[in-house]
């Protein structure tokens, strides 16, 4: 019984790993194939080439799209890390009138689908002249109710004693937050970093709405427009898709240990 059960466990584990990793591996291989071989299932190692990457980077503004995505994702992520931590900390630790009201707003806004405000936000941003600019792609997204909820739960779970000692020493709230609380919050900050950075890097709906010329496209929007023109050349399509996905996989691999720890300490459930 136990042996059969073990065999079953390993089979499920391995089969599903093949399902998640297989498409990536196959896509990397395809992205390295010359166009003459894209329809064949076999892989001719000698002919593998980075030519497709060269081609799309030199013929299309892929580097520009990559750079746009990077700027936007960095700005939005760091805005969120700072502002969500601040608000989450105030909601967890500081006493002020209206705190519960703000917390209820945070919870309520988590249920509002972003698409409801798509039309008015677009109108607002175009009145400001922010459509097709970095401002439009970043400023509206600098805080998130979900991120605030996550940080609040985390701050509630860490012991109060160090902060209390610091208060007695006469440190201001802001310094307590910067010097004591934030350094203790690495797992929660990492979790949020992964969510926000990958989420923004991959974001498609808003950037496709808010960009209108191809020098302002983010990578997903640019790649989608590239699909439209190049769908029959799988090797080039895959090279583009790999440029988009590989950086996120690498970032996740670097931070995965902290990330898993963060999930279990933020009470994300």
């Amino acid at each position: 019984m136990s042996k059969i059960f073990r065999f079953f466990l390993y089979s499920v584990a391995i089969v599903y790993a093949a399902i998640t990793l297989g498409p990536f591996i196959w896509s990397i291989i395809t992205s390295l194939k010359p166009t003459s071989e894209i329809d064949s299932l076999s892989v001719n190692l000698k002919n593998l080439t980075f030519g497709n990457y060269n081609m799309i980077i030199s013929q299309f503004p892929f580097l520009r799209w990559f750079f746009n995505s990077l700027i936007v994702a960095i700005a939005v992520t760091f805005g969120n890390l700072l502002f969500n931590s601040m608000a989450g900390y105030a909601l967890a630790r500081i006493n002020f009138a209206g705190r519960n009201f703000i917390f209820i707003i945070v919870l309520a806004l988590m249920m509002v689908p972003g698409q409801v405000v798509m039309v008015p936000t677009y109108i607002l941003l175009s009145k400001l002249g922010w459509v097709n600019t970095y401002w439009g792609l970043t400023i509206p997204f600098l805080t998130s109710s979900f991120g605030i909820f996550l940080m609040r739960q985390f701050f509630l779970s860490i012991p109060k004693e160090m902060e209390e000692a610091a208060t007695i020493d006469g440190l201001s709230r802001f310094r307590i937050f910067l010097q004591i609380v934030l350094p203790l919050s690495k797992p929660a900050l990492t979790t949020q970093f992964i969510f926000m950075f990958t989420g923004n890097w991959n974001s498609f709906l808003w950037p496709s709405l808010l960009t209108s010329s191809d020098n302002m496209y983010t990578l997903p929007v640019g790649l989608n427009s590239f699909y439209g023109q190049y769908y029959q050349f799988w090797n080039q399509v895959m090279a583009g898709a790999i440029l988009l996905t590989l950086p996120m996989i690498l970032i996740f691999l670097v931070f995965q240990k902290q990330f898993v720890k963060g999930i279990s300490t933020t009470g994300l459930k």
Partner: protein
Amino acid sequence: MRAHSISRRKYISEAISGYTFVLPFVISISVFIIGPLIYAFIISFKDFSYLNPSSSHWVGFKNYIGLLNDQTFKRALLNTTIYSLFVVPTQLFIALVLALVVDSDIKGKTFFRVAYYIPTVTSTVGNTGFLCQDGFSQHPVGNVAHDRAGLNVNFALPSIMMMAIWSSVGNYMVIFLAGLQDIPTELYEAAEVDGANKFQRFIKITLPLLRHVVFFNLVVSLIGTFQIFDQAYVVSGGSGGPLDATMTVVLDIYKTGFKDFNMGYASAMAFVLFLIILLLTLLQRLLFREEMY
């Protein structure tokens, strides 16, 4: 008297730092969520086009009544519902099985956890390319091309479902996993002493204690599926075709608002979506509360 004024001063300085800390959030949501939400509600009762704002006028409930007879919107609702009914249980089931597998004492746990999570950090736009190429459909990515070359009508929605499940199972698995690890091992040990087998332990201990995690995942998954957009857009090149087979509610909102510039009508659609999501959330909360007693 002195002590009183010190504690009062302390209270005020606490309050000031509290408001300062929440200020960026409050400004941001006022300008970019609550303001627009009110505005969207108002224009959902108007005939409103961004291209010609001066001609906008009140139409009462016309937009909402119009939705009742809108074949495309009905199709979008139907597609989204079918999608949701299939995707939610399937992805939660797979996620729970995987969480149990990587929570057991098999070797290479870390590898499997990372492998299962990887699709969730990658882009839908990229993944749609990967998976389509791997045979979910014939000529999937591509704008005009696909309507002619033919993404099979019957195959279009299922291929989007599979992509969605594939790319989001990891999220739910990680949350199940955190829930599983919170269950005290003493409970299992006690049950084992009492002679309960693995299956009985799972039914009598794991599932009941995992209930609030299941609830959390259910709500998140449901809300997520009703907002499906990216895959449908990329697969159909933004058209929702072939024959509306990949038209979803959000794609319909997007097309109506930003291709036809019929923004009042699009806002009415958005509020219907909002209402559906709200009702589902409340309904689930209600059902689960009753079950707890």
